[in-house]
């Protein structure tokens, strides 16, 4: 991902100042929305701002203040550190607007959590692990903004159009059940029932039930057939059929706090099975029981490495 340019980051910082000022006027909100919609780079800068807010919102003051506000030695102040704020989407969970005007409702799920919601119109929305959406319903439309992770949608009948927006494009539901996943620079869509119309910058396509595709902000890939594994997460399962171990590990890692790594020596080992997502420890134990894989766990299970047995 390219870095947003300096001028945009300057503006994002100014908006953070405004948005953190407590009472935010409707006018400021509108101006902020307009700023954010100006380009992909603006939106991207704001995503970064939200991650930053998430990092602070999760900090217990009683621990953070003494640690961060300690007296700093000259020497330490001279140290130049490269900082990576690699926070998962769940970490920006506590990002909070003053919700008094009620035009935005935010929902999110923690890592490892699957959360089912029913929206005002009766639409069912399931959040997969570490996922987040903004829901914006008004008189003219029903809009779900997918901020992170993956969702399953079962729309309810309603005269207003139903749309999901991702970073890459817009999806209009035509009476349907479908899943949408926000990946890095791509969106993945799988349609289980009805149809979904995808619109990106220079392309549009309608996907029928039983099809799945991915798209970037520019173009939509050729649709392929939907397989059960694509939507198994909605049942709390991960289905692997000759899947490279590295891919399986990457999937399971999305459902775990902490770090899950796979030794390159066994990364291409093909594995099959049905793995419970709600209990990834058990999934790992199942792997170790059926394949020549060993599990090394450190830091109380926080850091887990799969190696050759």
């Amino acid at each position: 991902m390219s870095a947003p340019d300096n001028a945009i980051l300057d503006e994002a910082a100014e908006w953070l100042v405004v948005m953190n000022a407590g009472a935010v006027s409707a006018r400021d909100r509108e101006a902020w929305m307009a700023w954010r919609a100006r380009s992909a780079a603006h939106e991207q800068a704001w995503q970064r701002a939200e991650r930053l807010m998430g990092a602070f919102a999760d900090m217990p003051a009683a621990l953070a203040m003494p640690a961060l506000n300690r007296r700093r030695s000259r020497r330490a102040a001279l140290a130049k550190l490269a900082a990576l704020l690699a926070l998962g989407p769940a970490a920006w969970g506590a990002w909070r607007w003053s919700e008094n005007e009620g035009w935005t409702a935010d929902y999110r799920s923690a890592t490892g959590e699957r959360r089912e919601l029913r929206l005002d119109d009766g639409t069912r929305l399931t959040l997969d692990t570490a996922s987040a959406v903004d829901v914006r319903y008004d008189a003219a439309q029903r809009l779900v903004l997918l901020r992170a992770g993956e969702i399953y949608i079962e729309t309810a009948g309603d005269p207003r159009p139903f749309e999901v927006h991702t970073r890459e494009g817009r999806l209009r539901a035509l009476g349907t059940r479908f899943t949408v996943r926000q990946q890095d620079g791509r969106t993945r869509l799988a349609v289980l029932e009805g149809a979904v119309r995808v619109t990106v910058d220079q392309d549009a396509q309608t996907l029928q039930a039983g099809a799945q595709t991915t798209f970037s902000a520019r173009r939509i890939d050729t649709a392929g057939p939907l397989v059960q594994a694509d939507t198994a997460w909605t049942q709390g399962m991960l289905l692997a059929d000759g899947m490279p171990l590295a891919d399986l590990v990457a999937e399971l890692a999305r459902y775990r706090k902490g770090i899950l790594r796979c030794d390159p020596a066994i990364a291409s080992l093909r594995v099959s099975g049905t793995f419970p997502l709600a209990d990834t420890d058990r999934s790992l134990a199942m792997l170790a029981a059926t394949y020549p894989v060993s599990i090394a766990s450190r830091l109380g299970g926080y850091w887990v490495t799969l190696g050759p047995a």
Binding site: N20, A21, F56, A61, P66, K80, L87
Partner: protein, 168 residues
Amino acid sequence: MAADNCDPRQQVHTLYRDHHAWLQLWLRRRLGNVSDAADLAHDTFARILDSRLPAVLHEPRAYLTTVARGILVNWYQRRALEQAYLEALAQLPEDQAPSPERQLLILQTLHEIDAMLDALPAPVRRAFLLSQIEGLTYEAISRELGVSLITVKRYMARAFRQCLACME
């Protein structure tokens, strides 16, 4: 990948073979303890592996100590933060202490935040922490620090900007 005359991995390997023991001793004299010295020597080589080595290393030990010094300063700073964190943790009533996994996450995030705020002047840093950690309003911060509201906002913008620039 371009075929280099000298394979960088081979180069690091040679560096390790010839100078690792020496570097560990150098660190041990500064730290006064063997296991920290071994860790930091390891970190030094790990960082060298991640970076681009100069094609020809005329003064390998000078190069090693330059890298090791950076790691040492970093390490002191992290330790000071951990110390302050552990002290604060010890003060918390038992039922308010976060779970061990969460404690680890909090500590990691604190290190990241600390590093981002590192280059900021003390008043800017303080204003920012009062806002983002303590949740004070800008008005309350301006009273607390005895500066104008405009100044508080300027401090906040500067701190936010610094953080955003540090992030990927």
